[in-house]
Point group: C2
Chain length 233, copies 2
């Protein structure tokens, strides 16, 4: 497709799959990452390995991998520190949100991405948001992101399309999408070079990748991979 | 009105008038400023003087002035530094935009404000955007901000109303609105404690305030004030 895209690229499984998806269909694909003092920088460190692997001409994708951009999101720290009112503290607690939660964070990420995309002549933003996993995060919902596309396109006075190829996929289907885009070799790249584990564990190897194997993120990733393999059998 | 608001408050004439407007109609009003390394910090320095003056009970406004928030927007610097493509450099030049321009900047400000407002239990965002003055900035347009309200409210899963009381006013009408809200005393506060001048001049006094009197911002402010006075005569 004769378009240029910017992928919101964290170095996790979802955004890595989105990067492959974008390289397969657009003529030029750049990436953007957000550094907001994550506990585990391993996910950000995975980004370079993934970009290197995805740039390999062996995949036969039409798209060229372009520049990488990094946005320092220290400002999120100030928002996290803003005192919650008593009512909101009760609400956050009831919803299981940490009191450092920044509501609408994904809208901010997209908006920064849109500013970069505009300056770089890119017309499509690609994000790995998914309704199946993130039902608790209204800023990942399809309705939200479609409304945001309208607001951003009006605010830039230029079309800025938001694509979320994983929106309706299960985790097993996301593994299947990677296999469809690059076969067993791409599955290997995504298993090895993407990071999910909350504990930041990059030493214990499982068939679905590195991780502690016990945290909720590892469990979700393992379950998805298991379900993908069972569908194949 | 039984609502609570957050005013995007730069310390300029427009946002100061918005603060008075909000204090007159909401029960609690907080303020937020964005520090993005402005050339002239005088506008930010004006904020405290204005907040002090506006908190005076003599105005008889129903609203209580609450906390002030400041967001460090260093990340905008990184966006400003993102290399423009050759096409975009030509476009920016043709539109008279500096090559450091961050497209959609006002949407970013509103989204940061929305995150703070949600945490503080505030349901209304007030901004001094105006179609008359900023026709070149599509992120100040009424359609853009109404679409943004929808995106933000969906992304927060809670109503977040965007109010822009100056949207259709001329500069003369903005002076008249201040007079309506607080008479000659409020006009004096806004003339004295708000800043507009691009040169950062706070030494030369004119009937419309401090400023160099020669830059485009001073000219616009002076013209508006003149037109306001002529309408009175």
């Amino acid at each position: 497709m004769n378009k240029r895209a910017l992928v919101l690229f964290s170095g996790g499984q979802d955004s890595a799959t989105c990067l492959a998806w974008a390289l397969e269909r657009y003529e030029l694909v750049e990436t953007v990452g957000f550094d907001y003092g994550q506990k585990h920088r391993v996910e950000l460190d995975c980004r370079e390995a993934l970009r290197g692997a995805m740039a390999d001409p062996k995949w036969g994708w039409s798209g060229q991998l372009g520049d990488d951009h990094m946005v320092n999101m220290q400002a999120l720290g100030a928002i996290s520190d803003t005192a919650l009112t008593a009512d909101k503290a009760i609400e956050f607690n009831a919803k299981g949100l940490p009191n450092t939660f920044v509501p609408g964070r994904n809208l901010l990420f997209f908006q920064f991405a849109a500013a970069i995309a505009y300056r770089r002549g890119l017309e499509v933003l690609v994000g790995g948001m998914c309704e199946t996993d993130y039902s608790g995060y209204p800023d990942c919902r399809d309705n939200t992101l479609k409304a945001l596309q309208v607001a951003m396109s009006l605010g830039l006075d230029a079309p800025m399309v938001v694509e979320t190829p994983l929106m309706w996929l299960s985790k097993a289907q996301t593994w299947a999408l990677a296999a469809e885009l690059g076969g067993a070799d791409l599955l290997d790249v995504i298993r090895r070079d993407t990071h999910t584990c909350y504990a930041g564990d990059r030493t214990h190897w499982h068939d679905w990748g590195f991780g502690c194997g016990a945290c909720p993120a590892c469990e979700l990733r393992a379950q998805g991979y298991r379900a993908y393999e069972e569908n194949l059998a």
